[in-house]
């Protein structure tokens, strides 16, 4: 693209190429969303995987991390690592909370049987009764 300095036309070519790959990847994600891979978590995995690929391309080429001093990449990556920790621990908590839903109550806790135990809060609004922990059983 750049008709001006030869060395730079090289990097312009890299940008065009990057954009092309990004657009193709976008097409693939959208396409993949229409295909059922058998389980929604596979679809999720694919979508997030492609997004990560795209994000890496943007970071490496458009944001120049490839040529920058490593410190910038370290900053970028540590922010992702700490974000990962932030996701990890609440996730561990929410998915291992079973104990606190008392064994005997799981079945009873359905609104229909509400007459004999402490009334479910939110005055019987169905969805609002025993929340997160019970919901995924």
């Amino acid at each position: 693209m750049s008709d001006h300095a030869h060395a730079h036309s090289n990097s312009a070519r890299v940008y065009v190429f990057t954009l092309a790959v990004l657009l193709i990847l976008t097409g693939i994600t959208v396409g993949a969303a229409y295909v059922n891979f058998g389980s929604s978590s596979i679809n999720l995995f694919i979508a997030v995987g492609i997004a990560t690929l795209k994000a890496s391309l943007v970071a490496l080429f458009f944001m120049h991390l490839r040529h920058d001093p490593p410190l910038n990449a370290i900053i970028f990556i540590s922010s992702l690592i700490f974000l990962g920790l932030f996701l990890l621990f609440p996730w561990i908590d929410i998915y291992s909370r079973d104990r606190v839903v008392p064994y005997g109550l799981r079945v009873q806790a359905q609104p229909a049987a509400a007459q004999k135990q402490a009334p479910a809060p939110a005055a019987g609004e169905h969805g609002a009764a025993p929340a997160p922990a019970a919901a995924h059983h």
Partner: protein, 221 residues
Amino acid sequence: MSSETHVVEHGAEPAFRQHHFVDAEQQFSTSKIGMWLFLATEILMFGGLFVGYGLMQGVYPEAWVAGHHHLDRIMGAINTVFLLCSSFTMVMAVHASSTNQKSKTILNLLFTLAFAAGFLVIKYFEYSHKFHDGLLPGRYFAYHGGGPPQQAMFFGFYFVMTGLHGFHVVVGMALITWITIRASRGEFSSAYYTPVDLVGLYWHLVDLIWIYLFPLLYLVS
């Protein structure tokens, strides 16, 4: 007694260098570190929303599926393309300004602005469509088409996430306008194009966040 050093410092130095930096190189790389640190805080801020969104999706999968059916994949995909292209024109602008191509810099910045505006226009149509259907966040959720009640929460996330992102787009556009003006005044050259570079980094981050927002909000079922 210190005049000697001062002479050295003030020698043929460019006007943009601030007094506490030794040379332009140091100033440039310092600004970059500062920008990357700022981007890290942006990532963690948006990240908090992604964490909440992801955890709640695990808790109410049906509501999330039902909610995302209301989003228009095509619109989302077009917007993705817009932002990717704008990132490309942005990086071209940075490149042009670093190689002393003033008019090319300005042109690319204007392209970037145009793509960003296109993004907002499409967002506007998406939003007004949602408003019309009563697909509003939280308490204002007034959709009568049925489905799990936690869709209200899904749309809470949808509006907070896209709203915060949209806000960043607007801020980005303001910044781009500002450097376009400066570029037209001829303030940038291969010796000094830091503002273009930094705004570019910011703009790519806005793109980068959308790269995740798009599949997570529009595509995942």
